[in-house]
Protein backbone atom coordinates (compact mmCIF):
# COMPACT_ATOMS: atom_id res chain seq x y z
CA UNK A 1 0.00 0.00 0.00
CA UNK A 2 1.30 3.47 -0.86
CA UNK A 3 0.45 6.43 1.36
CA UNK A 4 0.85 9.92 -0.03
CA UNK A 5 0.69 13.43 1.35
CA UNK A 6 1.38 16.98 0.26
CA UNK A 7 3.57 19.28 2.32
CA UNK A 8 4.84 22.80 2.16
CA UNK A 9 8.64 23.04 1.87
CA UNK A 10 10.31 25.64 4.09
CA UNK A 11 12.55 28.38 2.70
CA UNK A 12 15.67 26.31 3.41
CA UNK A 13 14.21 23.08 2.01
CA UNK A 14 13.07 21.41 5.23
CA UNK A 15 10.08 19.12 5.32
CA UNK A 16 8.62 17.14 8.23
CA UNK A 17 8.19 13.38 8.24
CA UNK A 18 4.72 12.93 9.75
CA UNK A 19 4.73 11.49 13.28
CA UNK A 20 2.56 8.57 12.22
CA UNK A 21 5.12 7.57 9.57
CA UNK A 22 8.03 8.08 11.98
CA UNK A 23 6.31 5.80 14.47
CA UNK A 24 5.66 3.15 11.84
CA UNK A 25 9.34 3.08 10.87
CA UNK A 26 10.59 3.62 14.44
CA UNK A 27 12.47 6.74 13.38
CA UNK A 28 13.64 8.92 16.24
CA UNK A 29 16.17 11.72 16.67
CA UNK A 30 19.11 9.28 16.90
CA UNK A 31 18.40 7.82 13.45
CA UNK A 32 19.65 8.85 10.04
CA UNK A 33 17.74 8.77 6.77
CA UNK A 34 19.11 8.19 3.30
CA UNK A 35 17.80 10.31 0.43
CA UNK A 36 17.84 9.26 -3.18
CA UNK A 37 17.01 11.34 -6.25
CA UNK A 38 15.58 9.26 -9.08
CA UNK A 39 15.48 10.45 -12.68
CA UNK A 40 15.60 14.09 -11.49
CA UNK A 41 11.93 13.71 -10.47
CA UNK A 42 11.39 11.52 -7.42
CA UNK A 43 13.00 11.87 -4.00
CA UNK A 44 13.00 8.68 -1.99
CA UNK A 45 13.67 8.87 1.75
CA UNK A 46 14.63 5.68 3.53
CA UNK A 47 15.52 4.99 7.16
CA UNK A 48 19.22 4.20 7.31
CA UNK A 49 19.66 0.76 8.78
CA UNK A 50 22.83 -0.02 10.70
CA UNK A 51 24.14 -3.41 9.51
CA UNK A 52 24.05 -4.68 13.11
CA UNK A 53 20.30 -4.05 13.18
CA UNK A 54 19.69 -6.91 10.75
CA UNK A 55 18.25 -9.61 12.99
CA UNK A 56 18.63 -12.66 10.78
CA UNK A 57 20.48 -14.77 13.32
CA UNK A 58 23.48 -15.52 11.09
CA UNK A 59 24.95 -18.03 13.53
CA UNK A 60 21.75 -19.96 14.12
CA UNK A 61 22.24 -23.54 15.25
CA UNK A 62 25.72 -22.91 16.67
CA UNK A 63 26.37 -22.74 20.41
CA UNK A 64 28.30 -19.85 21.94
CA UNK A 65 32.03 -20.36 22.68
CA UNK A 66 32.69 -22.69 25.60
CA UNK A 67 35.65 -22.08 27.93
CA UNK A 68 37.31 -25.16 26.45
CA UNK A 69 36.94 -23.80 22.91
CA UNK A 70 38.41 -20.46 23.93
CA UNK A 71 41.46 -22.23 25.35
CA UNK A 72 41.73 -24.49 22.31
CA UNK A 73 41.57 -21.64 19.83
CA UNK A 74 44.26 -19.72 21.75
CA UNK A 75 46.54 -22.77 21.62
CA UNK A 76 45.74 -23.09 17.92
CA UNK A 77 46.94 -19.51 17.30
CA UNK A 78 50.11 -19.79 19.33
CA UNK A 79 50.89 -23.45 20.07
CA UNK A 80 52.70 -24.18 23.33
CA UNK A 81 54.73 -27.35 23.73
CA UNK A 82 53.76 -29.02 27.04
Amino acid sequence: MTEKLTQKVSSNGRIVIPKEWRDKLAINDTNLVEMELNEDKVILIRKKIHPLEIEDNLFEGVSPFTDEELEEVKRSLFPIKD
Binding site: T30, H50, P51, L52, E53, I54, E55, N57, L58, F59, E60, G61, V62, P64, F65, E69, L70, V73, K74, S76, L77, F78
Partner: protein, 134 residues
Protein backbone atom coordinates in the same frame (compact mmCIF):
# COMPACT_ATOMS: atom_id res chain seq x y z
CA UNK B 1 33.60 12.10 23.23
CA UNK B 2 32.27 8.71 22.14
CA UNK B 3 33.32 5.82 24.35
CA UNK B 4 35.61 3.21 22.77
CA UNK B 5 35.97 -0.45 23.64
CA UNK B 6 37.73 -3.52 22.32
CA UNK B 7 35.63 -6.66 21.93
CA UNK B 8 36.62 -10.32 21.84
CA UNK B 9 35.51 -13.23 19.65
CA UNK B 10 32.61 -14.13 21.96
CA UNK B 11 31.09 -10.68 21.48
CA UNK B 12 31.43 -11.00 17.70
CA UNK B 13 29.50 -14.24 17.91
CA UNK B 14 26.73 -12.73 20.05
CA UNK B 15 26.34 -9.79 17.65
CA UNK B 16 24.73 -12.20 15.18
CA UNK B 17 23.08 -14.70 17.51
CA UNK B 18 19.47 -15.20 18.54
CA UNK B 19 18.74 -11.91 20.32
CA UNK B 20 16.72 -13.54 23.09
CA UNK B 21 19.73 -15.68 24.06
CA UNK B 22 22.25 -12.83 24.08
CA UNK B 23 23.43 -11.65 27.54
CA UNK B 24 21.79 -8.36 28.52
CA UNK B 25 25.13 -6.50 28.67
CA UNK B 26 25.84 -7.43 25.05
CA UNK B 27 22.31 -6.57 23.91
CA UNK B 28 22.92 -3.12 25.39
CA UNK B 29 26.37 -2.89 23.78
CA UNK B 30 24.95 -3.65 20.35
CA UNK B 31 22.28 -0.99 20.79
CA UNK B 32 24.91 1.55 21.85
CA UNK B 33 26.94 0.78 18.70
CA UNK B 34 23.85 1.19 16.50
CA UNK B 35 22.96 4.47 18.23
CA UNK B 36 26.51 5.80 17.92
CA UNK B 37 27.11 5.94 21.67
CA UNK B 38 30.15 3.67 21.56
CA UNK B 39 32.77 2.66 18.98
CA UNK B 40 33.88 -0.95 19.14
CA UNK B 41 37.27 -2.11 17.95
CA UNK B 42 37.52 -5.63 16.57
CA UNK B 43 41.04 -7.07 16.64
CA UNK B 44 41.61 -9.24 13.56
CA UNK B 45 42.88 -11.95 15.88
CA UNK B 46 39.35 -12.14 17.35
CA UNK B 47 37.91 -12.57 13.86
CA UNK B 48 40.35 -15.44 13.25
CA UNK B 49 39.04 -17.16 16.39
CA UNK B 50 35.49 -16.87 15.11
CA UNK B 51 36.60 -18.31 11.75
CA UNK B 52 38.19 -21.22 13.64
CA UNK B 53 34.94 -21.95 15.48
CA UNK B 54 32.57 -21.52 12.55
CA UNK B 55 34.71 -23.62 10.21
CA UNK B 56 34.04 -26.57 12.53
CA UNK B 57 30.31 -26.09 12.02
CA UNK B 58 30.49 -25.38 8.29
CA UNK B 59 29.23 -21.81 8.75
CA UNK B 60 31.99 -19.95 6.93
CA UNK B 61 29.54 -18.17 4.63
CA UNK B 62 27.86 -16.70 7.71
CA UNK B 63 31.24 -15.32 8.83
CA UNK B 64 31.80 -13.78 5.40
CA UNK B 65 28.45 -12.01 5.67
CA UNK B 66 29.19 -10.88 9.22
CA UNK B 67 32.56 -9.40 8.10
CA UNK B 68 30.85 -7.54 5.25
CA UNK B 69 28.44 -6.03 7.77
CA UNK B 70 31.20 -4.97 10.19
CA UNK B 71 33.11 -3.37 7.31
CA UNK B 72 30.03 -1.33 6.38
CA UNK B 73 29.11 -0.45 9.97
CA UNK B 74 29.55 2.96 11.49
CA UNK B 75 31.10 2.87 14.97
CA UNK B 76 32.88 -0.40 14.20
CA UNK B 77 36.63 -0.48 13.53
CA UNK B 78 38.38 -3.62 12.35
CA UNK B 79 41.95 -3.32 13.56
CA UNK B 80 44.78 -5.04 11.74
CA UNK B 81 47.52 -6.53 13.89
CA UNK B 82 50.41 -4.30 12.93
CA UNK B 83 53.79 -2.86 13.88
CA UNK B 84 52.18 -0.30 16.18
CA UNK B 85 50.94 -3.13 18.38
CA UNK B 86 54.40 -4.75 18.33
CA UNK B 87 55.93 -1.44 19.47
CA UNK B 88 53.46 -1.31 22.36
CA UNK B 89 54.35 -4.91 23.23
CA UNK B 90 58.02 -3.90 23.40
CA UNK B 91 57.21 -1.72 26.40
CA UNK B 92 56.10 -4.77 28.39
CA UNK B 93 58.98 -6.20 30.39
CA UNK B 94 57.40 -9.58 31.11
CA UNK B 95 56.23 -12.12 28.55
CA UNK B 96 52.51 -12.80 28.50
CA UNK B 97 50.23 -15.10 26.58
CA UNK B 98 50.57 -13.60 23.08
CA UNK B 99 46.88 -13.76 22.24
CA UNK B 100 45.90 -11.80 25.35
CA UNK B 101 48.79 -9.37 24.97
CA UNK B 102 47.88 -8.52 21.36
CA UNK B 103 44.28 -7.82 22.35
CA UNK B 104 45.33 -5.80 25.39
CA UNK B 105 47.76 -3.74 23.29
CA UNK B 106 44.93 -3.13 20.80
CA UNK B 107 43.21 -1.31 23.69
CA UNK B 108 46.34 0.76 24.23
CA UNK B 109 46.58 1.55 20.50
CA UNK B 110 43.11 3.11 20.66
CA UNK B 111 43.61 4.79 24.04
CA UNK B 112 40.89 2.84 25.75
CA UNK B 113 41.00 0.60 28.79
CA UNK B 114 37.59 -0.99 28.23
CA UNK B 115 37.32 -4.55 27.01
CA UNK B 116 34.22 -6.70 26.62
CA UNK B 117 35.23 -10.26 27.42
CA UNK B 118 34.93 -12.85 30.18
CA UNK B 119 38.69 -13.37 30.46
CA UNK B 120 39.88 -12.07 33.84
CA UNK B 121 43.48 -11.91 32.59
CA UNK B 122 42.74 -8.59 30.95
CA UNK B 123 41.90 -7.10 34.31
CA UNK B 124 44.41 -8.95 36.48
CA UNK B 125 47.47 -8.82 34.21
CA UNK B 126 46.87 -5.87 31.91
CA UNK B 127 44.86 -3.69 34.35
CA UNK B 128 42.09 -3.09 31.84
CA UNK B 129 38.46 -2.45 32.76
CA UNK B 130 36.77 -5.76 32.06
CA UNK B 131 33.10 -5.67 31.11
CA UNK B 132 32.15 -9.28 31.63
CA UNK B 133 28.62 -10.64 31.29
CA UNK B 134 29.30 -13.55 33.64
Amino acid sequence: MTEKAVIDAQVLFYFHYDYKKVPLMLQELKKKVIDGKITVIIPTIAISELVWKMRKTDKIDAVKRAIERWEKSENVIIDDFDIEIIKLMLKNIESHELHDEIIAMTCKKYNTCIIYSTDKNYEEIFKLKLRSWR
